[in-house]
Symmetry: C2
Subunit: 262 residues, 2 copies
């Protein structure tokens, strides 16, 4: 029987959506969060209370005997935090899709990445078992440790290097952030006509379900892929008071159109 | 007890995805499809066999004693078909999100619309019970008939007039067709780096699930809504070989950005 390494003692640096979801998942898997750091007292306190941990707003007061430091702050803040971090040679990981692993080299001889490929909002539960966890480490030993930890909370653990992860992160913007903004546009268009957004919910759900089975290019429907110019012209006319949405409609439709109707 | 009108005898004009899904749902609800028309012998035959109906490729040979004629062809073909259609005063409906109800006036004194707000592909089953059916009719009697029929196959029947339906149809392009194309872009970007699209599937699913509960504007995540200029610049650089995707990235991000970071 293989004994998994349990990281009994973890320090969480950050208290945002990703930190919250990862922190909860780590605890549910039997680990202990010793301390939560956040810039503001309020958010440090809220998350620490949830995770039954100490809290601090002072990086110089980080507990120094933890087994793992999970750095989960926004990408533009992370470099500043690293400058102040003194954790000697303990294992430290960040959870960013964008930043390279090597940015952590300055803080410890043992480092890695623990990137959950999912969209997290504070008010929503996410089943971490289904979230792809992309891991990377600076040594085979640290990779094994992170694999073991990731395996405790997700059924989908993947080794992904920094270059691939950066590409994944860009693809995720197109697969998640931009579709969500398309929903926002739909919501605004309906709102201006006093139609409730809820009528679109089954459609949105099925659109995402379809590409679980079909390739997205095969799942494409709508006027552009049919090359129906009349409808596209009428839609552009309907968008005349929304110049940015009209431009998006034009560019996306042009890209969707089959080569035969261009 | 209210007795529902069962339309025992239905003629289906069209054999595409929408016709196929509606035809099956009508049969499952206890109705009978007498005949399927399609321009090509092959598609008329395939669908007619599935629905246990006769088939024809000749509009002048349409059965003239049906209770309902369902016209489910693409919007650019529909006007030509109407010119040839002689069905006297039987009830006729189209299934288009875009075309007005009145286009049917030329073919019968009894007409309406039966628009399922969903994306249909041949290879996928859809649970019609959850599909919003938007109905409209030229008289209260016909509206009652269509309500009753729609109620047999969906739990979400809504009265929607032609103007609202047109707006819904435009919103559906943003809620379905464009998100699907965003998935296609993600697939292409990953494909060029030999990363399998399947890693994005949980993310795509959760993105659609989130807006079942949250307003899309509240569900927005990613670099643009955080105003993270460094990441956006890096992403644009990564897209330098994809000019159209780069342009989309710029416009959509600019629209997502909170007013404070513009």
């Amino acid at each position: 029987m293989l004994l998994l390494n349990k990281f009994q003692n973890i320090v969480l640096i950050g208290a945002g959506n990703v930190a919250t979801h990862i922190g909860k998942a780590l605890i549910n898997a039997g680990n202990k969060i010793l301390q939560v750091y956040s810039r503001t007292n309020e958010s440090a306190n809220i998350l620490a209370t949830k995770l039954n941990a100490e809290n601090t707003t002072n990086l110089s007061q980080l507990i120094n005997h933890a087994d793992l430091y999970v750095l989960s702050v926004s990408d533009d803040v992370l470099p500043d935090i690293l400058k102040e971090l003194k954790i000697e040679n303990k294992l430290i990981v960040h959870t960013s899709g964008f930043l390279s692993m090597d940015i952590l080299k300055q803080s410890s001889a043992n480092y890695g990445v623990f990137y959950p490929l999912q969209t997290f909002s504070k008010s929503r539960k996410v089943d971490m078992k289904t979230v792809p966890l992309c891991i990377e480490a600076n040594s085979p030993e640290n990779l094994e440790k992170l694999k073991s930890l990731a395996g405790q909370i997700s059924a989908d653990v993947r080794e992904v290097n920094s270059e691939q992860r950066k590409k994944l992160h860009l693809a995720a913007v197109f697969a998640c952030n931009f579709p969500n903004f398309m929903y926002t546009i739909a919501d605004r268009l309906l709102g201006d006509s006093n139609i409730d957004f809820n009528i679109l919910k089954p459609l949105i759900k099925e659109t995402a379900e379809k590409v679980q089975d079909l390739k997205p290019a095969e799942a494409q429907t709508g006027p552009a892929v049919r090359g129906d110019e009349n409808i596209m012209l009428a839609h552009l006319e309907m968008l005349k008071d929304y110049p940015a949405y009209k431009k998006l409609y034009q560019i996306i439709s042009e890209e969707i159109k089959p080569a035969t109707s261009k």
